[in-house]
């Protein structure tokens, strides 16, 4: 559905994308996971034909993003990183407007947005600017869907949204996927990676890894231990001086430690147990 080959893009001296290649199968959720400044938005802008790459090619639904940009604009739905609807128009007016922009009507494609729009329909006379974060997001998604796009491109849709709304959002994406829509979504939150079929870990314009979340976790080369003590900070300082320790860092309530040659020393008053790495652990490992 979407192919990206050797994309490179620089702004002056800053290289936003360095030789990026991947492809996305139709009907899948593909996540681009990376911190701010990784180049996610640039990639989205190239794929949505808003920007041209310095070199490399990309296609959406078999159409070239440079040559066939006008046709691509018909078949993609896009949700930019910031809330980009008209704050002074009501919920209904926004949806109506975006429908007419794509020469369609709410009635025609209502079945597609019904699921999501129903939740905000009680507030349809309210101005978009007065909605809560979660509702804004639902409205934005409805607007991106109203013209029945083949591919949906969502740039950081869950940033700044509370956990409950985030969870709802991901289950909405699941349902859209079941309707056959290909979804490209980016997020800075590692814990959202497992919700995608495929993920690309991105850092400073490079792809660290592209695979399913399961295979990325399985490819973790070391054995990871969770270490817990009374005072994690003092424990961390102590472990950093320990020669047996290859790497250690704080992760939530415990420390994550990798030992040289997997030699686990006994430390008094400290609980050590083996844990499965998370995508976040994989990301850290791949960054080094």
């Amino acid at each position: 559905m979407i192919t990206v080959e050797n994309l490179t893009k620089s702004y002056g001296e800053v290289e936003a994308l360095k030789d990026i290649s991947f492809h996305i199968d139709a009907g899948k959720i593909f996540g681009i996971i990376g911190p701010d400044g990784a180049g996610k938005t640039t990639l989205f802008r190239i794929l949505t034909t808003l920007m041209m790459a310095d070199s490399g090619q990309a296609t959406v639904d078999g159409l070239d993003v440079v040559k066939d940009f006008a046709r691509i604009r018909h078949c993609i739905g896009y949700m930019p990183g910031r809330f980009s609807l008209y704050q002074d128009l009501t919920v209904e007016e926004n949806l109506h407007f975006y429908a007419s922009v794509f020469n369609t009507s709410i009635k025609e494609n209502y079945y597609l947005v019904q699921d999501i729009y129903k939740q905000i329909e009680p507030f349809k006379k309210r101005r978009a600017g007065d909605l809560s974060g979660g509702m804004k997001q639902k409205l934005a998604l409805s607007c991106a869907l109203i013209h029945r796009p083949k591919a949906l491109m969502l740039d950081e849709p869950t940033t700044g949204v509370d956990p409950v709304s985030r969870k709802e959002f991901w289950s909405m994406l699941q349902r859209l996927k079941e309707q056959g829509i290909t979804i490209l979504v980016s997020t800075p939150y590692m814990d959202e990676a497992t919700k995608c079929d495929h993920i690309a870990l991105m850092q400073k314009g490079r792809l660290l890894s592209v695979d399913t979340p399961e295979r990325i976790v399985a490819a973790y080369p070391d054995v990871l231990y969770a270490v817990t003590g009374d005072n994690n900070y003092r424990l961390l300082c102590k472990l950093k001086e320990n020669k047996e320790v290859k790497m250690c860092y704080i992760s939530g309530e415990s420390l994550r430690v990798i030992f040289h040659k997997n030699n686990v020393p006994a430390i008094e008053g400290v609980e050590i147990r083996q844990v499965a790495p998370t995508i976040e652990d994989c990301f850290i490992q791949l960054m080094q």
């Binding site: 802008r45 808003l50 896009y78 930019p80 980009s84 609807l85 109506h96 922009v101 020469n103």
Partner: protein, 360 residues
Amino acid sequence: MKQFISFVNKEFRHIFRDKRTMLLLLGMPVVQMILFGFAITTEVRNINICTPQTWNYDPQIRIMEGFAANPYFNITGTIGNSQEIDEVFREGKADLVIVLDAQRTNPAIQLIADATDPNTAITEVAYATRIIHEAQQVAVTAIPQGQIIPNVRMLYNPQMKSAYNFVPGVMGLILMLICAMMTSISIVREKEMGTMELLLVSPVKPFSIILSKAVPYFVISTANMLIIILLAVYLLHVPLVGSMIWLSIISWIYILVCLSLGLLISTVAQTQVAAMLISGVMLMMPALLLSGMIYPVENMPAILEGVSCIIPARWYIAAVKKLMIQGLEITYVAKEVAILLLMASFLLTVSLKKFSLRLQ
């Protein structure tokens, strides 16, 4: 077409929902007309004069009566000796002092004016001179042979009202402000809000985005033009001698120029504040100062006069003066129309070319 209508609809909603802008758009012409009409006026009224204590001989008394009867002058005091002249000026009691040598039958009259504001002083002196002349004319019943007295007629504006000059000026200014500033701001706002991104990835043609922005401001500008003309005719009694149709047509051409200027600004500016500054500094100031509205173009140094040629307001104001006040035929403003048309097509081409299909 449906797409376009819903676009225009949206623009109108943006405008109507923003009460402050709405008030500004429709209130501004009224405020400016009233300001220029009553407060800021180049006519000189309420001139305070101080006169000599005694007026002995016949022509002098008639002069005195002339001043007393004239509505433009207030006699605020009398002067006994020459020291008092400085005093009344310092105290602000007088703008003009009349001094005469009372010993002679055909007295020499001296007018002393406060020339801190030279334009005002000149006008005051001119008024005073006219009163003195009139008084003398009555005295001299038979005009001595060989003496030529000019017969002056003030054409088109017999009462010398400044409204005749500033009404076209205000029209030029307001239309520029609304069209250029408001269109540029409304386009830049979409950039700032991120909605432009969504519009660009949709199949909408950039041309229809721009056109739909232009339509509401076109309508509002036309409404404003009508308000100004109505106020001018009924409140300030400026006659509308020319053809209303041609006045509208030339105004629409001017509106087109301003809309394209606004568009051009929007392609350069990235924030609403920048758009406002650019239109304020680059458009309003020159339009105010160099268009001939306040200072006559003919009096400017050659360089500034050259600069004023590229200011659309100059040509529009000139054309409106000819059409509205002088009531001339359209053929007499052919030059102005041609220049404005040329400007419109040039600006429109450039700004449409610059309006990017993609983000920078």
